[in-house]
Amino acid sequence: MALERWFRRKRPTRGDDDASPKGLWLKCSGCHAQIYRKDLIANLFVCPECAHHERMPVEARVAMLSDEGTFERWSGRVAPTDALGFVDTEPYVERLEAVQKKSERLDAVVTGAAELDGVPVALAVMDFGFLGGSMGSVVGEEIARVAERAADEARPLISVAASGGARMQEGALSLMQMAKTTVALEALAQRRLPYISVLTDPTTGGVTASFATLGDMVIAEPGALICFAGPRVIQQTIKQDLPEGFQRSEFLLSKGMLDDVVPRAALKARLATLVRLLRAGLDGEPGDGAAPPVPLAREVSLAGAGGAGSGLGSVRGGVRVDADEAARALDAIGAGADDVDGGQGSGDERDDDGNVGEESRSRATSV
């Protein structure tokens, strides 16, 4: 059935054949083609063969969206606490400690200031590898703070969502983060500063139902699972197979829920164009809209990022990602450089409700 196929596609199993332990070659979780690791990284974690968008590590995402050397981190001053004393099969504090150690960050989001194609912006990038990118008090607080500080510094905000939803280990307090992030966005709205939300695979539950869909524009990456209730929950409720492509970006675009689906290689340029345009209205401050927008045609030509002859150069549509730098970033987050999916679930579909990612990090197969 269709559903199983998605999960198979999204959840590569670890290869037994560890002939090249350094993971020089990876298997695409979309088409299973063997890809040279550096090539995948240089191609922004998009398969050069089938254009499948793998989940992207936060550091690589930040590097991809920031002009070189411009990112200044804001997040990291608040840390999660176990307000409820939540214990399931393992205490929440222990899960937290383990993932903090592994990821070398306090919680599931990185925020900061950057220049995007020369435009000063604020960025918020979620980490699906950190407890399924779930939103508890800290993620909510970081999102609220980045919105407020962006407003203070007159920077447009760009958020990149990747989340299983609210963090149930923080109970109703995590539910309240939906309202908290939403009200914090008012600071930007009141100053009429653009907020553009990018939805990546997967964006579900309480994150979809709050700040992530409240952008002035909402853009998704190709093939991303975007939903309120996950496919498994829906299937259990209605006891029917789900339509092909259900809850994927392209499906939601056709339903009128997204402004556009933009391939990763074209994302930075598109964001720059949109931010500039939004600031070039009749009330636009002189200079804000002065820079010529990036021609859209160029993006279209990049749309089939994996297409033949796209090459694997490190410059693509104004996006500069140095392969070595990205590899270092990967090592820095402790993921091991073969971990191209940013930490997926254990294959038991449990990201439907926001708690994948922590159980085990399946990896693109080393071959």
Binding site: M168, G171, C227
Partner: protein, 317 residues
């Protein structure tokens, strides 16, 4: 059908009924025995209900016979006039909207309605709204602001409906929109969680200046059953999940998620609906009376700050 832990009380009630019938039949005076049994019943009920586990509280919150939103609307407000439709896709019976009088003040009312029997439950989709319901709510928020009508919402839902059409029509989008629109209201907003406050579908109607909760109502990010299925990989662990989620009225007050608890009659609202309804009426009237004096800007600002403060975390020096 009594809840499992209500059995002893149920038996005692039956004995009292039998004794009354016997006394009447046989013209004997058993009043002192009956009074003694009634006292025992009351203290047993009180003891039982003050010592309920969180899972038992969940069962009370969902108890058949517990007053539904429309039961409250019959007495909490006067002259409730239902307004239908989202002006785009249809009318969602799971989310009831309308206007009414609360004392002397006109108000907009939003209420999640579960069924009182199987037939109504099916009609109301067990109180699980589709996007259409939330779009209707959005329309009501506009109406409230335009005519300066305070908003009263009664929350009672297992959650927003998870279905194909609901996803296609943007369930997440409309919930986010409701949260945002309600946070921007320039009139007083009071929410009462009367039964189940199920996740985002509940929050969409509860971005209020004052959030009240009935003593045995619950408010949670996820149902205990779903939480158990995910975290324990076993839905039968729902009682453990209910404990872990800290979803009772007292828990939520402690977490700062709700502002006040409305006490229910001994034995729960389902034992004495009229008593519960009157308690809600008084609580809501008092809150609106207080909030009506607050200027519009202040109301919106205060509401934003209320939610901006939510959460617990550690801060680096």
């Amino acid at each position: 059908m009594p809840l499992p832990f209500e059995k002893p009380m149920d038996e005692l009630e039956a004995r009292i009924r039998d004794m009354r019938a016997y006394a009447e039949d046989q013209h004997v005076d058993l009043s002192s025995e009956i009074v003694a049994l009634e006292r025992r019943l009351e203290s047993l009920t009180r003891d039982t209900f003050t010592n309920l586990s969180r899972w038992q509280r969940v069962q009370v919150a969902r108890a058949p016979g517990r007053p539904t939103a429309l039961d409250y609307l019959g007495s909490v407000v006067e002259g409730f006039t239902e307004l239908h439709g989202d002006r785009a896709l249809g009318d969602d019976p799971a989310l009831v909207a309308g206007v009414a009088k609360l004392g002397e003040i006109g108000v907009v009312v939003l209420a999640q309605q579960k069924g009182r029997d199987t037939k109504e439950n099916i009609h109301r989709n067990f109180g699980m709204a589709h996007p259409s319901g939330y779009r209707k709510a959005l329309r009501m928020f506009d109406l409230a602001d335009k005519f300066k009508l305070p908003v009263l919402s009664l929350v009672d839902t297992p959650g927003a409906y998870p279905g194909i059409a609901a996803e296609e029509q943007g369930q997440a989008w409309v919930i986010a929109a409701c949260i945002q629109r309600m946070s921007r209201l320039r009139v007083p907003a009071v929410s009462v969680i009367i039964g189940e406050g199920g996740s985002g579908g509940a929050l969409a109607l509860a971005v209020a200046n004052r959030v009240l909760i009935l003593e045995h109502a619950i408010y949670s990010v996820i149902s205990p059953e779903s939480c158990a299925a995910i975290r324990w990989r076993d839905a039968a662990e729902a009682p453990s999940a209910a404990e872990a989620l800290k979803l009772t009225a007292e828990d939520l007050l402690e977490q700062g998620v709700v502002d006040a608890i409305v006490e229910e009659p001994v034995g729960g609202a389902h034992k004495d609906p009229a008593g519960a309804i009157e308690a809600v009426r008084q609580a809501v009237e008092a809150e609106i009376e207080e909030l009506r004096r607050v200027p519009s800007d202040e109301l919106a600002r205060e509401r934003r700050e209320r939610f901006r403060r939510m959460g617990r975390f550690l801060e680096a020096n």
